[in-house]
């Protein structure tokens, strides 16, 4: 028990020193001084409640993903049957929710149609993404499988998170965090941002840009009633497009989507100085754009952003170079925001804000100062009472406590965790609780001495017998802390992290290190009595 080989001592000191060294940059920057850039710089992040800033929680609707998949599938089904040899003709495809159904014009082709459609039902992996059923001998019903939908939602959220991150980075604020939460949520935190409105505007825009041909067969009366000609859909004009309140019919299929862009910039119209957004397509997009414009010269096409028509200009001549201007009723700011959104890509799903908050910077600074003062005073009182009660042993516990706090800081910095307001309380509490292990051990040593054991045996037994309770207590606290971490959110999580790391550091410093020091002292001084 009291036998420490040299290699063990070396290891213990190494661990301690590394953890403490890691705490230095955070402590230096808390005092306001600058840490030299050339040195490694592990830092504890300050949570929003300490640093001040804005946070919003966004949520996507899985039903929307399902609808989009249905649309893609509809296009694929039509294409496959049209390109069959000979082509298979079908009636209208009706889509209810996320399910497609259609009838063949010639029921005898059922088997051939099924052969063609079956391969479309499987995704990239081995998962079957769609179920195909034939009802009443002639009606095909395609429904999405749960597994397929889940994969699609995950993919959509992954890319949505990426898009959100890109857009926020474009804002140029310092150290934003963008995190996936659960299956359908994204948490965005931007320290130092006082007003989340700009953030919400930027993220609220799906930036789903589409170019679709205007269906000129629709009669104005039908348009007014919202009835679209077959194969077309009704799209309203955007509120600031100059045609607010009106709507037009566009061909549903055969358009171009904005996801084949490689660049988008805010510029000004060549004549006059209205802000516009200039976009550049990639090779494939440029080819398709060229084809669309050459085949439809003198017809209007609609530029649609997030389901609203920005403008519907005439195609005067084929556009072959792969660049185009989007004009609308933009201000420089809104054109710039659209350009950022287009550059970072369209959001695959709409995101709605379900939670938001802002913390003023004064409150955070005040909390840190008061928290540190409370920590200092509390720690000092504990240090004094330990020495007064346990003498030399108390002093060992005190050194352990100071090392414990520094190590806790250091490990949090290495793991790059976030310190929140409750986390600060966790620090203070850890100071109070960390000495419990020492109290248990020292009280036990006192008892063993009272029972008449010799010095060495009493110390040995003290550590051995107390270890059991210390172990059990820490395991159960670990259970509570882990559940707090798993179920808690935001600031509470910060508290759980401090608590959990504190369990490990306090056992290491309070039990292992003090034992090493006590053992060293016993060997050097060979005391015949203990003042404990």
């Amino acid at each position: 028990m009291l036998d420490f080989p040299r290699w063990k001592k070396v290891w213990y000191w190494l661990i301690t020193l590394v953890a403490i060294a890691a705490s230095i940059p955070s402590l230096v920057s808390m005092t306001g001084a600058r840490w030299p850039d050339s040195l490694p710089d592990p830092q504890i992040n300050l949570g929003l409640d300490l640093a001040g800033g804005s946070r919003i929680l966004l949520e996507a609707d899985p039903a929307q993903v399902a609808r989009q998949r249905a649309e893609t599938m509809e296009e694929a089904v039509r294409g496959a049957l049209r390109e069959a040899d000979p082509p298979i003709r079908i009636g209208d495809i009706s889509s209810r929710g996320a399910t497609l159904s259609f009838m063949l014009e010639d029921p005898s082709e059922i088997d051939r149609a099924r052969e063609i459609l079956l391969p479309l039902m499987n995704g990239v992996g081995m998962v079957r993404e769609w179920d195909l059923q034939v009802l009443d001998g002639n009606r095909f019903v395609l429904s999405q499988t749960q597994a397929g939908l889940e994969t699609a939602v995950t993919q959509a959220m992954d890319s949505a998170t990426e898009v959100v991150r890109k857009r926020i980075d474009a804002l140029g604020t310092r150290e934003p965090t963008v995190l996936r939460e659960g299956d359908t949520r994204i948490l965005v935190q931007v320290p130092g941002l006082g007003d989340p409105t700009a953030l919400k505007d930027l993220l609220g825009q799906t930036a789903n840009l589409e170019f679709k041909l205007v269906d000129q067969t629709a009669s104005p009366a039908d348009l007014a009633q919202g009835i679209a000609p077959p194969g077309a859909e009704i799209v309203p004009y955007a509120a600031d497009s100059g045609f607010a309140g009106q709507q037009i019919a566009v061909r549903r299929l055969g358009g171009i989507r904005g996801d084949s862009l490689i660049n988008a910039q805010q510029t000004f119209e060549s004549q006059g100085n209205a802000p516009v957004v200039s976009i550049t397509f990639d090779k494939q997009g440029a080819d398709r754009f060229a084809r669309l414009t050459s085949e439809n010269v003198n017809k209007p096409f609609a530029i649609i952003l997030d389901g609203e028509v920005l403008s519907a200009p005439n195609i005067n001549e084929p556009i072959l170079g792969g660049t185009a201007m989007i004009s609308g009723n933009f201000t420089v700011e809104s054109a710039n925001q659209l350009a950022i959104s287009l550059r970072s890509g369209a959001l695959p799903v709409d995101l709605t804000v379900i939670q938001q908050g802002t913390v003023g910077p004064e409150l955070g600074a005040d909390s840190i100062r008061k928290g540190l003062i409370a920590m200092g005073v509390g720690a000092l009182a504990v240090l004094v009472i330990m020495v007064v009660t346990y003498g030399r042993f108390g002093l060992y516990a005190d050194i352990a406590l100071v090392l414990n706090v520094l190590m806790l800081f250091g490990i949090m910095a290495i793991l790059n965790t976030t310190l929140t307001l409750p986390g600060l309380a966790g620090f203070v509490l850890t100071i109070g609780a960390a000495v419990d292990a020492n109290v248990l051990i020292y009280e036990r040593i006192r008892e063993e001495r009272k029972r008449g054991r010799r010095v060495i045996a009493a110390v040995e037994n003290g550590y051995k017998e107390a270890s059991r309770a210390i172990y059990d207590a820490n395991v159960t606290n670990f259970i509570a802390g882990t559940l707090l971490f798993l179920f808690g959110s935001g600031p509470v999580r910060g508290f759980a992290i401090v608590l959990i790391i504190g369990l490990f550091t306090s056992v290491f410093t309070g039990v292992t290190l003090t034992r090493m020091w006590v053992a060293g002292w016993l060997r050097r001084a060979r005391p015949t009595d203990l003042n404990v």
Partner: protein, 324 residues
């Protein structure tokens, strides 16, 4: 140097003599707490009910003008706001439950927030908006359920662990003691109508942790004494164990109370509720480890034989280890 002893040597207090009256009192307190929670209810924060919360500090006033603030805010016609002092004398939190048509529409709820905050800053010079948060009803419902899951799961997981390390009676005892602590804390929050939010759940889980520390230390000593004194009647043995660990219990509670009080007095005002809950829990937890967790072992019929096979007779002999 003479060292301080907070508890004299060889105390022999008959804690367990009073177990029946204390149990009756505790059971009554549990019943009262549950009644309070279900009748008066907890004063749930926006974390759990959804809505808009605005935290204001009146930098020019000693004391927040709660009454005139309420007048101003109610004049806006957004229903019935909850206005409460939070932390320091000059800090208040204003809470609204959003009407459904506003909660559904992000623009409307933003507009409402702006109107409320500007009404505050225009009418009260020196008012500083510290914290704005809006939680939709859907999220708050989830936060509440997951928080409750966390509490219940933590208690069950801990009881199972104790059962594995000790005996089933100890698991039940620890679980009951934890239940006692949690319910009494909830009752206190219902009685004083302190705001109950996510941080308080963290506080309760911390109380669980500390209360359990005490319970485990006492249980560990009971187990040890059961092996040592096979013939001793259980009540006497429990008393002995509590007495032997008494100086540790007092010392640890003291160090915890020192830091908690320094946090209460000197720490940030927004942590007051959180710290107060833990401070209270330290007392309740220490009491429950002695008066709830220990006596229940008598009634559940723990016998000294439980731990016999675990250890051979030689283990209690003085051990001689070679010295380097």
């Amino acid at each position: 140097m003479r060292l301080l002893k907070l508890v004299p040597d060889n105390t022999n207090i008959h804690f367990l003599k009073w177990r029946v009256p204390f149990y009756i009192v505790s059971l009554l307190l549990i019943a009262a707490s549950l009644t309070l929670v279900f009748t008066k209810g907890l004063n749930l924060g926006v974390d759990f009910v959804g809505g808009q919360q605005i935290q204001v500090t009146f930098t020019q006033d000693q004391e927040a003008p709660v009454a005139s603030l309420r007048e101003r805010v109610e004049a806006l016609g957004y229903g019935d706001p909850v206005i409460q002092r939070s932390g320091a004398e000059n800090q208040v939190s204003v809470r609204f439950r959003l009407p459904p048509e506003i909660a559904e529409n992000p623009e409307a709820s933003d507009a409402m927030t702006t109107r409320v905050t500007s009404a505050i800053t225009e009418n009260f010079p020196g008012a500083r908006i510290d914290d704005l948060s809006a939680v939709s009803g859907k999220v708050s419902g989830e936060l509440f359920t997951t928080a409750m899951y966390a509490l219940v799961l933590a208690m069950i997981a801990i009881a199972i662990y104790i059962w594995i390390r000790f005996e089933w009676q100890f698991g039940v005892g620890a679980l009951f003691a934890l239940f006692h602590d949690v319910v009494l804390t909830l009752g206190m929050f219902a009685l004083f109508q302190f705001e109950f939010d996510l941080k308080i759940i963290a506080a309760i889980l911390t109380i669980i942790g500390y209360s359990l520390n005490d319970t485990i230390v006492v249980y560990d000593r009971i187990r040890e004494n059961m092996k040592k004194y096979r013939r001793m009647p259980l009540p006497e043995l429990l008393d002995l164990s509590v007495n032997e660990t008494l100086s540790r219990t007092v010392m640890t509670s003291l160090t915890l109370l020192i830091v908690l009080i320094s946090l209460l007095v000197l720490g940030p005002a927004s942590l007051f509720g959180f710290t107060a809950a833990i401070t209270l829990g330290i007392f309740v937890g220490t009491y429950s480890s002695i008066y709830m967790a220990a006596p229940i072992l008598i009634w559940l019929g723990v016998s000294s034989d439980s731990f016999v096979p675990a250890e051979g007779p030689g283990d209690r002999a003085e051990r001689v280890t070679p010295r380097p």
